[in-house]
């Protein structure tokens, strides 16, 4: 999978950094499929953390730190290093240790595992947000509205919607880190 995958992911992320939302969504979907099986295997027994939380934490970290990828560097080691950091972080917060090598990622077959069918509680991620941010993030993520539709529906300016969305996502990421201490 590696070489093809690398080229494809790098191309998508490059387009995303130029503002291509469709490419970005596809990139994040592929990353989720890569990280999910590793998170499941590593967090399988008794750690008490939903592996999908790791997937989401990794996606948020990738989003907020996407400027740390050099567009001339390979993208997969960058993705793996972030996922690895997040998995180890979960163990650290729980006072344990986990061994995790790059080979853990190499073994995964990205297409095979899909997201758990169980409807996850939307409230869990959004609860901690200020009311304004919550309305914006919910409108875009759950209801699938665009920025302009959200602006119209909530009677806000588009720039205000963008700011609220960005801050909301950053707040969710920060909350992930705290929630399990």
């Amino acid at each position: 999978m590696s070489a093809d995958h690398e080229t494809r992911l790098a191309g998508l992320l490059r387009a995303a950094l130029d503002g291509d939302e469709t490419a970005y969504a596809e990139f994040l979907g592929l990353v989720a499929a890569l990280v999910r099986p590793v998170a499941r295997r590593k967090l399988g027994a008794g750690i008490g953390t939903d592996p999908e939380d790791i997937v989401q934490e990794t996606l948020l970290a990738i989003h907020l730190k996407r400027h740390t990828w050099r567009s001339d560097a390979p993208v997969m080691p960058w993705v793996y290093a972030i996922a690895r950091y997040k998995i180890i972080d979960v163990y650290r917060r729980r006072g344990g240790r986990v061994e995790l090598d790059i080979e853990d990622f190499a073994e995964t077959l990205p297409a095979q595992a899909s997201e758990a069918a169980s409807e996850r509680d939307i409230g869990r991620a959004l609860d901690g947000l200020a009311a304004g941010q919550r309305r914006v993030v919910a409108a875009i993520s759950v209801e699938g509205r665009s920025i302009s539709e959200t602006a119209q529906a909530l009677g806000m300016k588009e720039t205000a919607v963008r700011v609220a969305l960005h801050r909301g996502l950053a707040a969710i990421a920060a909350r992930f880190g705290r929630s399990e201490t």
Binding site: A25, A61, H67, T68, A73, A81, Y85, I122
Partner: protein
């Protein structure tokens, strides 16, 4: 939230312009030099005979070492702030300044009589050196830790340590203009100790403030 919903939200945020990590380093470096220079000139300042000293190789070589430290450590810091980018080879750049210093010590030992070695290493300014390199460097260290928070170091403690070396390199460059002890033996002893103090402070700051 379902992961697919999260991806929708993240994609909607993609249009937001991305500030390259290099921009944060540039801002931190410029501000660090300004802050360090202000502290330096407000406290110890350059030595009175700096014009005469500028003609001597031992004085000038101090700047080669300190600037090599600042530059190489900043390069390594950038790698450490990018997940997956720091290979063993990039950490090796940290040996640049020590290697230069080791070569200069070799020359010093060949050209100076053995009876002088101890005096050259101890010097007259060890206390000033151990005080003012950390004092000048602490502001720059805070700035580089701030810039590091924008990055994504998977080893925050190590990255903080290297941030301390960058700050130490900048502080030592200014301090070298004050100090009248120009022997590489003095530099290797006291500058190293002072930079190590900033490195230790950076390591702690990295672990405390640079989690992400």
């Amino acid at each position: 939230m379902k992961t697919s919903n999260l991806i929708t939200a993240l994609a909607a945020d993609a249009a937001r312009p991305v500030v390259p990590q290099s921009r944060y380093w540039l801002a931190a470096a410029l501000a660090a030099v300004v802050v360090a220079a202000i502290v330096f000139f407000a406290t110890i300042g350059p030595r009175p005979d700096i014009a005469a000293a500028a003609g001597t190789p031992r004085f000038l070589f101090k700047f080669v070492v300190t600037l090599a430290l600042a530059g190489s450590a900043l390069f390594v810091l950038d790698r450490l702030a990018r997940p997956g980018a720091a290979r063993r080879g990039s950490l090796g750049w940290l040996l640049a300044a020590p290697a230069l210093l080791a070569a200069a010590i070799g020359v010093e030992l060949l050209t100076q009589p053995e009876a002088q070695w101890q005096m050259l290493a101890v010097g007259k300014n060890s206390v000033v050196c151990l005080t003012y390199i950390p004092v000048i460097g602490i502001g720059p260290l805070a700035l580089f830790i701030l810039a590091l928070r924008r990055g994504a170091p998977t080893r925050p403690g190590l990255a903080g340590l290297v941030a301390g070396f960058v700050a130490g390199g900048i502080a030592a460059t200014l301090y070298a203009a004050h100090c009248t002890d120009d022997s590489p033996l003095f530099v290797a002893t006291w500058y190293t100790l002072a930079v190590a103090m900033l490195g230790a402070a950076g390591g702690v700051a990295g672990r405390l403030f640079v989690r992400w």
